[in-house]
């Protein structure tokens, strides 16, 4: 009915947070990597970049799901835009769907993103470990 509105709202919040963090202009941490005996200076992926993964997933998914809702006639280009909002009984059902399916969608996307952040962090640490051992 309108489950995509929950991840779309999370996308707005996450984008605002990312923009605010980028505006602060925190410089990415520089690290030295040992690649086959050659020492290279590289920049660690900043957190704002990782936050962009989350906003990309949320915006992309919400956009395609919004299209699905248009397809099923649940979203229309005239007020109140959601067909379920015109009838109180349908509106209650819509809110129930948003609080169950919509919230679960947002939570699962966030969990997947947290997994990606954890894996990328582990890969960064693994790349830095041989260097630290040599020092």
């Amino acid at each position: 009915m309108a489950c995509f509105l929950v991840p779309a709202t999370e996308a707005i919040v996450a984008t605002v947070i990312r923009k605010a963090m980028e505006a602060k202009g925190v410089k990415p941490e520089k690290v030295k990597l040992n690649r086959d005996g050659r020492i290279e200076t590289a920049e660690k992926l900043p957190f704002t970049h990782k936050l962009k993964w989350l906003t990309n997933l949320l915006w992309g998914g919400s956009a395609l799901l919004a299209f699905e809702h248009v397809w099923h006639g649940e979203v229309v280009p005239w007020f109140p835009f959601l067909t379920a909002a015109a009838d109180p009984a349908d509106a209650a059902e819509m809110l129930h769907e948003m609080s169950t399916v919509g919230v679960t969608m947002a939570v699962l996307i966030t969990v997947v993103w947290l997994g990606m952040v954890a894996v990328s962090g582990a890969l960064e640490n693994r790349a830095l470990k041989p260097q630290a051992a040599k020092n």
Partner: protein
């Protein structure tokens, strides 16, 4: 069916993105994020539907299946259009700019 079509589109886009990396000129990352985001969301939708319908979920009516396939393909097409617009606007190879502004000898 929509979920299945989107998951396959996400896998193909990710493989293409990996082959294109690290240059990433074709900006295939946009496609990957869109398709994976939608796939995760439709997975949740499918789980809730399965909880309601149980085994009946796996035996949809042919008309419903066809409609879902049509929707899945339309979603993939919409994703490709969004990606194409962003690619042409970003114009990483300068092809569009080259076509718009003729060079003087």
């Amino acid at each position: 069916m929509t979920l299945l079509v989107t998951v396959f589109a996400a896998i193909v886009a990710t493989v293409k993105w990996y082959k294109d990396a690290p240059k990433g000129e074709m900006k295939l990352g946009i496609l990957c994020w869109m398709y994976w985001g939608a796939s995760i969301m439709w997975l949740v939708d499918a789980v809730f539907e399965y909880a309601e319908l149980k085994a009946e979920y796996f035996t949809p009516a042919p008309a419903d299946m066809l409609n879902d396939l049509f929707l899945g393909l339309s979603v993939v097409a919409l994703g490709l259009i969004i990606w194409l617009v962003r690619l042409l606007v970003a114009d990483p190879r300068g092809v569009v700019r080259g076509a718009l502004f003729q060079r003087k000898a």
